[in-house]
């Protein structure tokens, strides 16, 4: 077992601190090649990761980089630096600790490359940059340990895949490098261990602590039939805020957080200090809230996933989740944000936003109690990330293909990568990989003297600019007209939906849209008016398979004593009028309403898959002359409206036809094009659009959709189309879950014809984000609009 320097042990003792068992375990495992520590929030996880490093460095360490710490958040690196410095400085250890992120100054970065600290704290993207320089071998040759914090969060995205490739690279530069992963509670620790190190990894579990104290918030008024805001519960929530020291109020989307915050203040008669925090607010605004929080000046923060990770907020004693949690694992991790003291139960309240979410909240509560966590297994390492990694490797210097392949397969996500798959990625980065060999003269990478290298070394700068796997949605800044005060950002697609005079919420205030000016959305204040357009897009999580299965199981009960009466009555009425969905059958209702025919598909496949199902089924309906006009999807159902009644829905659900539809539908759908765009940016086919470049080059730049259509037509076997298809199985398209649903149902379709809207279908009519079907109807609309405009202008 590694021993801490006596000065450090003394300092701990003086503070009255003793090591937790898992912290001692980490010291015992100091020499292990790879270790994964699973510990609840507040368990001293990060310190546990650093203890072996502090033990090895001792009081007077030699110069050189010893430990690299990687966190998903910039803010976290600064926080950890402060937390780590206090014991190190308190014990008088001569250990240099620095962080390096996108915010680090140029001079500091240069100095760090020439003379690295003992412990460097950074992010995956900054590490990628460090490794793209020629001097990387010198900087990292003596590296002993790499610590990946919040590895469960990184493993959920391509950032994790990229990081594991970078760590494999580090290991080549520093043989014997030891890997440490620090994770919150996850459903499948061995899978995460393989992700960290495919060649064996020790797994340590900290005491998970007491079960959380978690309940559904009781309100006087029942939740509304639809919507996601949870605003009906504001009086009850304010009461809870008043009774606790500090409350975090989580929402699933930024738009919902905004709406909620706005209404909360209208009802906040005690003037409790409450702030808002989410990823679309300007950085200044977020920092102000964070500082106020640290200073203990706020009683509550309305927030989104932007506070899922990171800084220890200290005195939070209540977490409120507004809206169904969608995912049990994330719920458990969010709950852990309360009572950051070890061995104290976290306290949390769930607030269902609508009637259906009451069922989902109860299902989630039961899952938490049963310690039943959800999670979809990771797919193989995405190849667009590998393409970027090959370019990054080339930026650092010439490389040998065999050695790089061997190195890549030492990264967990790529352990099963085949040589032909690797070679196809290499070919793509070198020549574009087109069937038409057009670029032999202008290859990006050349094979010279047995090594691959950049044809033009100056392109290394371009590769660095495009590094990273986070693709920002194109956003526009929002500013107050005349004053120019920045308020935050909205997605371009939202800005495109606005007409001057529309009002919307940002940063808790109602603003009036004035117009677009140089890629900035100009607004004026419009106090006291209800926002007309209230939604700006944000991440929409799909309800997990585990939760939907629990809900379907709950539907099979003869009665529902655990549900509030209003919700139980609603389900009973559905059972009497139509029927309730069953786990291994597919309920499809059809009925006329308001002069249109409607079809409801209760697939319970999650929002993204239900959306895809909507696109595929309406396409099929269009072919069959059923004239669909549009659809809307939620986590549990898709509602389609059109001109013709569907009396026999079974043929619409033929798996082969749907799969063909996915292939054919690949050619036109916007979601698919967005998937392609992300892949093309990560793989290095197109450059990221920077605000400035978009502004100057509008005429010259063209949409990635054109590239996508061209590839489909002339080179359908191209690598990037292959990757795009693979991506479509999960994420925004989530076709994998459509297939799972069809397998589960195996043709057992219950078609119910009714004369009017059913209780379970009713809320769907109130859902926003309706998708019009691009078919005969849409063309007619365009023609009609043109005719009206011409007439109005006296031109027709």
């Amino acid at each position: 077992m590694a021993l801490l320097p006596p000065a450090l042990s003394d300092w701990f003792a003086a503070k009255g601190w003793t090591l937790h068992p898992h912290q001692r375990d980490m010291l015992a495992c100091a020499d292990s090649g790879a270790t994964l520590l699973i510990a609840p929030t507040g368990g001293g996880k990060t310190l546990a990761g650093f203890l072996p490093t502090l033990a090895e460095l001792g009081t007077k360490p030699e110069a050189g980089l010893h430990t690299l710490y990687i966190s998903p958040l910039k803010a976290l690196t600064a926080d950890i630096r402060r937390n780590l410095r206090s014991p190190v400085e308190g014990a008088g250890l001569a250990i240099r600790i620095e962080d390096r992120t996108g915010d680090t100054t140029y001079t500091q970065r240069r100095r760090q490359r020439a003379d690295p600290p003992h412990i460097l704290l950074t992010t995956p993207e900054s590490l990628g940059l460090l490794l793209s320089y020629e001097d990387a071998p010198r900087m990292f040759q003596g590296l002993q340990r790499v610590i990946v914090d919040e590895i469960h969060a990184l493993a959920e995205s391509k950032r994790g895949d990229q990081l594991m490739l970078l760590i494999a690279r580090l290991e080549t530069l520093a043989p014997g490098l030891r890997r440490v992963g620090l994770s919150a509670t996850v459903e499948d620790p061995p899978a995460l261990a393989r992700f960290l190190s495919p060649r064996g990894c020790d797994i340590l579990h900290a005491d998970p602590g007491p079960d959380p104290d978690i309940q559904m918030l009781e309100t006087d008024a029942p939740p509304p039939w639809s919507g996601g805001g949870g605003r009906y519960a504001i009086p009850a929530i304010l009461e809870q805020v008043a009774r606790h020291k500090t409350t975090l109020i989580f929402h699933n989307t930024r738009a919902q957080a905004e709406l909620f915050f706005h209404d909360l203040w209208l009802q906040n008669s005690d003037d409790l200090p409450i702030g808002i925090h989410h990823g679309s607010l300007s950085r200044e605004q977020r920092e102000r809230v964070e500082q106020a929080m640290v200073a203990g000046a706020l009683r509550a923060i309305v927030c989104t996933g932007s506070l899922d990770l990171g800084i220890d907020w200290g005195d939070v004693d209540l977490v409120i989740q507004v809206g169904a949690p969608k995912n049990v694992k994330r719920l458990v991790q969010r709950i852990g944000r309360a009572n950051h003291r070890y061995n104290a139960p976290s306290k949390a309240l769930l607030v269902p936003a609508n009637r259906f979410e009451v069922v989902e909240c109860i299902a989630a509560l039961q899952a938490v109690r049963d310690h039943d966590l959800d999670g979809e297994p990771r797919g193989p390492g995405p190849r667009d990330v590998l393409c970027q990694h090959i370019l990054l490797t080339a930026a650092a210097g010439p490389f040998d293909a065999d050695a790089l392949f061997a190195e890549v397969t030492r990264a967990g996500p790529y352990a099963d990568l085949t040589r032909p798959e690797f070679d196809a990625c290499l070919e793509f980065t070198a020549t574009g990989g087109y069937a038409l060999r057009a670029y032999d003269k202008w290859q990006r990478l050349l094979f010279r003297n047995g090594l691959w290298q950049l044809r033009d070394p100056r392109t290394a700068a371009l590769i660095r600019q495009n590094l990273g796997t986070i693709i920002d949605t194109e956003t526009l800044k929002v500013r107050l007209k005349r004053f120019g005060t920045p308020l935050g950002e909205v997605e371009e697609s939202f800005a495109a939906s606005l007409t001057p005079g529309d009002t919307f919420l940002i940063g808790g205030q109602v603003v009036r849209y004035e117009g677009l000016h140089e890629l900035t959305v100009e607004v004026s204040r419009q106090p006291g008016r209800d926002p007309k357009v209230a939604v700006f897009n944000g991440t929409k999580f799909a309800t997990s398979t585990l939760l939907t299965q629990r809900i379907l199981a709950m539907f099979q009960q003869p009665s529902w004593p655990e549900l509030p009466r209003h919700t139980a009555e609603w389900l009973s009425l559905q059972r009497a009028v139509s029927r309730l969905p069953e786990p291994d059958r597919l309920l499809v209702e059809s009925f006329p309403h308001d002069g249109r025919e409607h079809l409801v598909i209760y697939g319970f496949a999650g929002r993204n898959a239900q959306q895809t199902l909507g696109l595929l089924i309406t396409k099929r309906m269009e072919e069959l002359g059923l004239a669909p006009l549009g659809f809307v999807a939620t986590d549990y159902a898709t509602l389609i409206w059109g001109l013709e009644a569907v009396h026999d829905p079974a043929p619409l659900f033929d798996a082969d036809t749907l799969r063909e539809g996915l292939e054919g539908w690949l050619s036109g759908n916007a979601v698919m094009k967005r998937t392609f765009r992300n892949t093309a940016i990560i793989a290095g086919l197109i450059e990221r659009s920077h605000q400035g470049r978009r502004k100057t080059g509008r005429q010259a730049t063209f949409s990635s959709d054109i590239l996508y259509d061209t590839l489909r037509k002339y080179d359908p076997g191209h690598l990037l189309l292959d990757i795009t298809r693979q991506e479509a199985l999960r994420g925004l398209v989530d076709f994998g879950r459509v297939e799972d649903m069809l397998r589960r149902v195996a043709g057992r379709i219950d078609a119910v014809r009714l004369t009017r809207v059913t209780p379970l279908a009713a809320p769907l009519f109130l859902e926003p984000s309706r998708v019009p079907v691009e078919g005969a109807g849409r063309e007619r609309l365009m023609q009609d609009a043109a005719d009206r405009l011409m007439q109005a202008a006296g031109l027709a």
């Binding site: 202008w442 590239l707 019009p772 005969a776």
Partner: protein
């Protein structure tokens, strides 16, 4: 005029119905593909083909884009020529993404282009991308005037009876964005005909100051669709 199918997202515009209009007394037709047809002169005009764009980007060390835009553009041009049977062709500038791109054409593409040119009076008007003679047949001109109408790459502010390109105008209607012709009866600006081309919203000051009152935007697509040219900053972009 109503079409029953959505326009092809990519592919050969079939040009079911062109939009007829007059410019300086000449009867012209805006084809849904983005080409201009002047039947009386047996003339087809296309602008901003940007042939060889992907090759130029690759040469400069940029991305290796799918190298198929030249054949895509040529196949559109082929269809337009087939349909109109035009004996004269004006390529209104920026036909090649740069001079070297003209030399770098793939052999198949070069032969295709030569086949299209064969037996036709073919005029390359210079653009800002391809100023200078290119090593393909036909005649090369800074601008050309036919029956009082002047054809040049970039519009001259006070000009009348002028046809130009350069700006790649586009507009949005009914939620759909399309490249478009712009005309106010005095001048006409053509959309970009090339496959790898972006566009400039026609409410951009550069375009709205050029076009007089009552200007029309004629959208390309399945049919050529005229609408009043959007003027104010269009929030729907």
């Amino acid at each position: 005029m109503t079409s029953l199918h959505p326009p092809p997202a990519c592919g050969i515009p079939t040009g079911m119905s062109a939009y007829p209009f007059t410019l300086a007394g000449a009867a012209l037709a805006a084809m849904p593909s983005g080409a201009l047809h002047w039947q009386a002169q047996s003339l087809l005009v296309v602008s901003d083909l940007h042939l060889g764009k992907s090759e130029r980007l690759a040469r400069r060390g940029g991305a290796l884009l799918p190298p198929y835009e030249t054949r895509e553009t040529l196949s559109r041009l082929d269809v337009a020529l087939e349909m109109t049977g035009a004996a004269r062709v004006i390529c209104l500038g920026d036909s090649f993404d740069d001079i070297a791109a003209a030399d770098g054409l793939d052999e198949g593409d070069r032969l295709w282009l030569l086949r299209l040119m064969a037996g036709r009076d073919w005029i390359w008007v210079e653009g800002n991308h391809d100023a200078g003679p290119v090593d393909v047949g036909g005649s090369h001109r800074a601008e050309v005037t036919i029956a009082d109408i002047t054809f040049r790459h970039i519009a001259v502010p006070a000009a009348v009876a002028e046809v130009s390109g350069h700006y790649h105008p586009k507009a949005r209607i009914g939620g759909q964005a399309r490249t478009c012709f712009l005309t106010d009866g005095q001048r006409l600006i053509l959309p970009a005909f090339g496959a790898y081309t972006g566009g400039l919203w026609c409410h951009d000051p550069a375009l709205s100051t050029l076009m007089g009152d009552g200007a029309l935007a004629i959208l390309t697509g399945r049919t050529a669709l005229p609408v009043p040219m959007p003027r104010r900053p269009d929030p729907r972009r």
